[in-house]
Every structure is written in C-alpha cells, then in structure tokens.
Symmetry: C2
Subunit: 433 residues, 2 copies
Amino acid sequence: MRNRTYTADAEPGDTVTVAGWVHEVRDLGGIAFLILRDTSGKIQVKFEKDEMDDDLVETGLGVHRESVISVTGEVDEEPRAPTGVEVTPESLDVIAEAEAQLPLDPSGKVDAELSTRLDNRTLDLRKDEVKAIFEIRAEVQRAVRDKFRDLRATEINTPKIVATGTEGGTELFPITYFGQEAFMNQSPQLFKQLMVGSGLERVFEVGPIFRAEEHNTPRHLNEATSIDFESAFIDHTEAMDVCEAVVTAAYEAVEENCQDELEALGLEEEFERRPRVPAAHLRGGHRAHQRTGELDEQLVWGDDLPTEGEKALGEDVGEHYFITDWPSEIKPFYIKDHDDDETLSTGFDMMHPNMELVSGGQREHRFDHLVAGFEQQGLDPDAFEYYTKMFKYGMPPHAGFGLGGERLIMTMLGLENIREAVLFPRDRQRLSP
Amino acid sequence: MRNRTYTADAEPGDTVTVAGWVHEVRDLGGIAFLILRDTSGKIQVKFEKDEMDDDLVETGLGVHRESVISVTGEVDEEPRAPTGVEVTPESLDVIAEAEAQLPLDPSGKVDAELSTRLDNRTLDLRKDEVKAIFEIRAEVQRAVRDKFRDLRATEINTPKIVATGTEGGTELFPITYFGQEAFMNQSPQLFKQLMVGSGLERVFEVGPIFRAEEHNTPRHLNEATSIDFESAFIDHTEAMDVCEAVVTAAYEAVEENCQDELEALGLEEEFERRPRVPAAHLRGGHRAHQRTGELDEQLVWGDDLPTEGEKALGEDVGEHYFITDWPSEIKPFYIKDHDDDETLSTGFDMMHPNMELVSGGQREHRFDHLVAGFEQQGLDPDAFEYYTKMFKYGMPPHAGFGLGGERLIMTMLGLENIREAVLFPRDRQRLSP
C-alpha cells in the first residue's frame, strides 16, 4: 500500500487512502459514521446514504468491528468529528474481516482478566492504554542506550547459552546443547566484567536474562530484560552516579517524548509531580534504617528488607533511594568489600518504594581474593576458570550494576503486575503465546 | 577514580592522573619510555632516571607488560611522542600486575589462532583491530535502530523461551522449563507478525536467536543476533525498500562515525569505494539468472544458490542484490504467494557476494490460506493456535524481513570467520567462555 496515509496525517483538501481497523460504527438513519483506527490515531468516515453508492454503504456499515478496511476519499474539516476531520469514501475495501465474536474487547469497554489479555495480546494491544506501555518501553530503551553512549560506554551482546551460571547451579534453566549440558544465562555479570579488562573498558547491554526461580508473584518473571553496565576505573559510588543518570534520563525522555502515551495511561499530571532520582537519593543503607524510626523493629541489619520495610522506607525518603554497605557475607563473590572494613561490602541496591530496581557494586578485581571468594561461597573456581584466569593478566578495578528493565517500567507507570510490561511474559504457568 | 583523565583527553599544561595498561617499555639508558594504553588511545610516560625518584623509576620500568597502572604527572608537548604529548610521572601505582607470560600477545606482534583468541577474548580485545570490530558492531546497532525509528517502527522484545519453534521441531535447542518441554526461539517471526495486527502495526527487534543446526562453518553460529522488522500495510517490495534503507544507514553511519576503527582494520579506503546498497540493487531473482550468462549451467531455478553461484552473481551485479520470486513450495508457510501466480512466492533474499544476509517477504494474512499452508508443510496448526487464531480478528496485510546481525558485520568488514563478529561465539564445539 505505497500510497497509504496514516490517519493522523490526513489533511483537509487531500484525497487519501487510509487503512486500519473498524473501531466503531454509528448509524443515525440517513447518515452514519464509521471510526477507522490505525496506529497514529482515528478518523471519521462519513456515509450519507442517499448520496452514495448502495453497495459501498452496505459494505461499510455491515462490516464487523475490528475488521481491517481501507477507504479512499476526500478529507474535509468537520469540527464535530473526533479529530476535526472526516473522510467521505469514494471506495472502500474490506481487507480482512474479523469474526463477530472476539475473545477480548479492544475498545476496553468490557474489562478482561490479565490472563485473557495475555492470551490475546494482539487484540489487547489495540487499546491505547496498553499500546502506550510498549511505546514507553521502547522510548526508555532508546533513552538508556543514548545515555550510556553519552557516558562513553560501548553496547555489547553477551551469550545467552552458557556452560555455568553466574552464581553456580541455582535457578538455571538447563538446555541440551549438542549432547552437552548447558544453561540459559541468568545474568551477563561475568561476561561484562571480562570486557572491562579488554580494550572496551566500559560497556552496557540491554538483553534477556533467564531465571528458573519458583516465585510466581506480580513482580517476578522467568524471562526478563536486564539493563547492564560495567566500567573499568570506577568505584561503587561512581557506578551509583551512572545509575542515577540513566534512570533520570529514562524518566526525562518519557516526560518529554511520550505525553500522548502518559495521557492514555492517565498519568500526565502525576508523572510530572514525581520526584526525580537525585532529589530522592539517599546513601548509607544500614544507617538509613536508623533514620526510619518505626522501621527499626522490623529490620535486622543485613537482612533483605521485608516488603513492608521497603515501602515505609520509600515513603520516608522519596521515590528512589540507594541502600549501601550490605554485610559482605550475603553478597556474591564478585562484589568487593570495603578496604577499611572487610565485613562491609561495596554492594548497593537502588530501591523504589515497591521493589528493588538495581543491584550493583564495586567488583573484586584481585585474582587471589576472587578465588578465595569462590571457595567461601562453596563454588568450584575451576568451573569458572575462563573467567578467573583473565584476572591474572591485568584486570583494572571496576564497578557496575544491573537494572531490571521491566521493574523500571512497572514502577514508572504504576503497573500492578510486571507482566503488563512484557509483550509475551513467561512464568511458571505461562509458556505461550 | 573520580579524577582519572582518558589518555586522549590529556592536554599540555595539565596535571593529570591517567590509568590503563602497560603497552610497551623502551629503556634507552639514561632515559626510558613507557607507553600507557587505555580505551581512548595511548600516551608516553617519560622516565629521566637521574632526575626522578629511584623507586618510581624501578617500579615503572620493572612492571610486566599488560599490567594496569596509574600515573599522575604533568603533560607536556613532545613532537617525538606517538601522540605528541608525554607525561612526566610524579607518582605511579601498580594497580594490577599481569603475569609475565600471557596466553596471547595483545600487541598483535605474535599471531594467534582464532580459538586461542576466543579463549582469551579479554586480551584479544586489547588489540585495536579487534576492538574496532566491536565498536563498529555497536555503531551498526545504533544506526539500524535509529533508522527503524525514523521509519515509525517501535522496538519490541519477544520471548526467547517458547513452546513451539517457528518452523516446527527442527533445529531447536530443548529446554527443561519447570518440567515442561520448551525451546529456545529460533526466530521472532511469529511474534513480530502478531504485533502487526496490534495497535503497534510496525515493529523491529534486535535480539538473540538460537539454532541447533549441525553446520560448523565459518559463516554459521548457533547463537546469533537477528535484526527483525515487520510492518502492517506494506508488501514485499516496500519491505525491500526498508531493508535497503536500513543496510544503507548502517554503512553510512560506520563511514561517518568510525573512521578510526576503519583505519585500525586497514579498511578506510576500501570502505569508501564500496557500492552502497541502492547502487548495486537488482530485482527479479530467477530472472537475474538469465542475465548472468556463465552461471546458467550451475543454477536450477528455485534451488538455493550454490556458494559459487552466489559469488559469481555478486561479482556480476555488485555488492548487494535481491533475489525474488522463489518458488512457493520451498518457502515457509508464512510467506505469501503472488496473487497472479500461486507457484511464485513473494519471498526475497538480500544477498552479498559471499552469503545471504536477509530473508523476507510478504506474509500470508488470510486465516484459511495460513492454516492450509501449515498442513501442506506437515505442521500441526493446533500447536500454533496462539498464532493462527489472531488471524481471525482482523489481521492486516504485512511484510518484513530478518537481517543477520553478524553476517552484516562480517561482510561489511570482510571478516573471514563470522566468529570474529561475536564477543563469545557459540558453535558445536564452543560453549565457553
């Protein structure tokens, strides 16, 4: 359809061919209106029954809702039309007739369960407020990539099929790989670290990760998108600065470039009022507990914060905050301890009142400490030799983080279930579509 | 290292701290030079033995090559230095000493087998000409994403864990997914098609694909990057236009933004002389055979072109060309036939003299034809119901293509083995690092 015009581009005086879905038909007797919807918006198609070819009127008004049609005709101003213009059809083609009964109502007038929506994502995504989530998701990916590039990082792609998991054998999906045992990678952690010792020095990746965790909650996915960053010659405080800059860039880009989408989600005002990351930024994790008064009783230093605690802390300090200085023993082998206190790690989390968004830290770059760390965690250093041996050939100090792509979208847009931020989510029960 | 200066940013008159790898040490007696390398370039560090602290001189000149050090000192102009400036160290720290014996020589003076290089990618990527490949790869991904967005497409992420493969049970890696059988996805084909029927209409994805094919050749990978595009309301000729635009954008971006990298690869002149896609663009696949004279004998219409034929045809018509109008019977069920000749498909390939880069076509959007196509290919339509049923609810005509990300880099840079375009390639033998 070389000469198709998007509905949003139809100007009064033009003769256009527009194509899309039949959103609604209103028959008022002598006159009738069909609302045609495409990705750019909607346009009114007018049928004046006495003045038009009977076949054309019959076809246009008889077609099922959600069928795909194209209409050729002249565009006129019409202040009473939803977008101020309307098309009077000279010809109309039914390109793909929809069944009369749909499993889901794309007009959104009839509510549907999330599972019905996910089973019928094609129809679900015809709703403005669902489409908006994925337009925003795409914009967030663009914004974070651009920000990483501004910060002189190079985009990389690390393998998703691996011989060993990042943290040993837990929570891995096994693959049969030409008769060998392999796994789907749960994190690009070890690979991105190998790259900071290369000539690239500073890298980022936006890609899928796979976790066989048993949780089946509104905030867990078994296949997710991880936004990873790692850089040579920075420490954990500089990694937190990059983390702030990237999350801030994502919020700013959405505010600047996604006003229509925010409006479709009813978020245009709320979004503007939200604190940006730097404004609500807090350092000094276990020390933060002492500031939160009523939380003290629930919190034991070094425990993962209970959900209630996360929420209360978030309300106390703002939309996003860092928790730092976790006890070394609960952090993985690749996180470096503080030089002046080996019981304290440089690991940090960036929190949202509802959940953890980011996990990062300075990394252990000293070969002997690294190998000792493997042994302390009961992992076999030999299985990770491809990784550890590079630490003998000049590995710089480095730090980085992993940011949960879907969690960022979920918290940004206030979604109730993380599955709403994924086109085709994967969980214990859901493997299709 | 908050105050670290990249070597390329060190200006005469500044006092800087630079950090990186010891590239080379030249001891001339009373004076000695250390070349320090970081991601931005190299800088000369000068040791005047009689005028400097003995410990500092001893440390600087005694450190193994490829160790990580930092140097603080004043920058001066020095026309004889490789970059026209040098640092006189006031202090020098050895941050991570490298072993004296390295498995690979990052200066590139000693050649290494590809398998040794891949086993030691961290060291391999300290060579300018290897690093250049991955800087270019990142730039290509940026350029194609930006071009797709210019063309009003939305970036999507489709699942990599699936219940059924795109083309049935062949060439799939099986996964154990919570006790169910699942697979790693071999193509986003069916998912991107589901999106053209949604409100998004036009989508692209840059992501991993997984193929359990037995080939172990210089141009096959078992995990690769696919650059996918799919759009409602276009036909196969318009999909070819988009394909051309995207490949052209990639070449242009590399020419414009990667001159240093092209130089590191020795390609700066050759690259400019190469024909761009439109200039070497040919349509009419089986008809093209007739134009190629000497090729006629090797070619049977409808067969995949033999490698020799691909090369000869490429030399005849230029760097890239399309082959169209393949016989319907050899194309998969989702490719639409020509309306005026059902024995001819709308499928197309974009070829490079050395290999196929792109496969695309107009898709079958009619439910009954689609289901018949499944049956003709011996596939069970019920296993794909999540896909086929959406064709009953208003599926527009659509077309698209998949472009092999690594093949694009390989042909663009004249690499001899596709593994050179992947940080950590996966093949039958290689699962680590």
